[in-house]
Symmetry: C2
Subunit: 202 residues, 2 copies
């Protein structure tokens, strides 16, 4: 039973912040080689110059670590998109273009993508808060691309479906069962939901 409490993150000292970053970087490096399986906790600890127990104090499991990595990347992406939003005539186009941008970034480091995405979908209830943070970030990115401030329930459902498609299409691509072109097609297809008149719903 891995029941646990998250009693409001204690503020980290500088050295601790540095350790955390060092661990994340070590994780990213190992993930960048062999993907999910290549991220071995002992090696991460070694590469980060930290004891195994310390690694586990910062990230209570391998999945936590990799989800944190994804959160990191998404924050960078989000910031970068805020600075220079994707262009496009309508919302659907902009969202599709934004996701394809992210997809191209993942293609540059397929192993890293493997580690992060597999961790994300494999995560169990014990990682829910962290996965939720990732999900909120993704939602924010998509809503930004849509140009929506105050989404309706319908819009939120559409965004959820887009995120579902996004994650699952990545998984399918990573396991070699779907081509890059197909993923692109899926993204464009699902984005067709965005400007859909609401009479098909409910």
């Amino acid at each position: 039973m891995t029941a646990e409490a998250r009693p409001a993150a204690p503020p980290l000292t500088e050295r601790q912040e540095a350790r955390r970053r060092s661990i994340l970087q070590a994780g990213a490096q190992l993930a960048g080689r062999g993907g999910f399986e290549a991220v071995q906790m002992r090696e991460v600890a070694d590469a980060a110059g930290v004891a195994l127990g310390t690694l586990y104090r910062y990230f209570p499991s391998k999945v936590h670590l990799l989800v944190a990595l994804m959160q990191d990347q998404l924050q960078h992406l989000h910031a970068s998109l805020r600075r220079r939003p994707t262009a496009g005539d309508d919302a659907a186009e902009r969202v599709a273009a934004t996701l394809m941008l992210a997809f191209r970034a993942l293609q540059r480091e397929p192993h890293l993508a493997d580690a992060m995405v597999r961790a994300l979908t494999f995560a169990d209830r014990g990682v829910s808060p962290e996965v939720d943070a990732v999900s909120r970030l993704t939602t924010a990115i998509v809503l930004d691309a849509m140009g929506v401030e105050d989404p309706t329930q319908e819009q939120l459902s559409v965004v959820r479906v887009i995120e579902h498609t996004w994650h699952s299409a990545l998984i399918t691509w990573l396991s070699g069962r779907e081509s890059i072109a197909q993923v692109k097609g899926d993204i464009e297809t699902v984005c067709g939901l965005i400007d859909l008149p609401a009479d098909t719903r409910r």
Copy 2:
């Protein structure tokens, strides 16, 4: 392009068929309790009355076993749906109703669902052929519900998106981040793609 070595399944003898079923049943039983984590290979072997090595001869990994389980269940569902197809006025309604039927079945055994779905999305390239079989089955079920014999490329893409949403929504529900009602909404939303005029595409 699923390159791999599957030298045409050797025909199983009766005893072997029985062993296989026994293993699957043991797996289902254990999964029915604690989900993915509760399916421990030693326990499966014990419960199935088979040596560990034999279990691994039949299913080369835990994920293989659980994916085979899902394939089993889907075959039953498919057969049952062939006998009595889901009613509904248009394709979108029928597909949504069919998926909700399956969803309700999964809700009756959430732990089993957890084991099967997590295995499915966690599967790596080594399990691709098996996962692909599951995917083909799901596609067949959805196409049946749509009433389509010879799908176009567009329709196939829509079906893929529906499957993506289906899997990912299940994952999200299983990890407690999305409610049953939300999953229902997501399914209905994505099914809105089915009767969409093709001018939003490409």
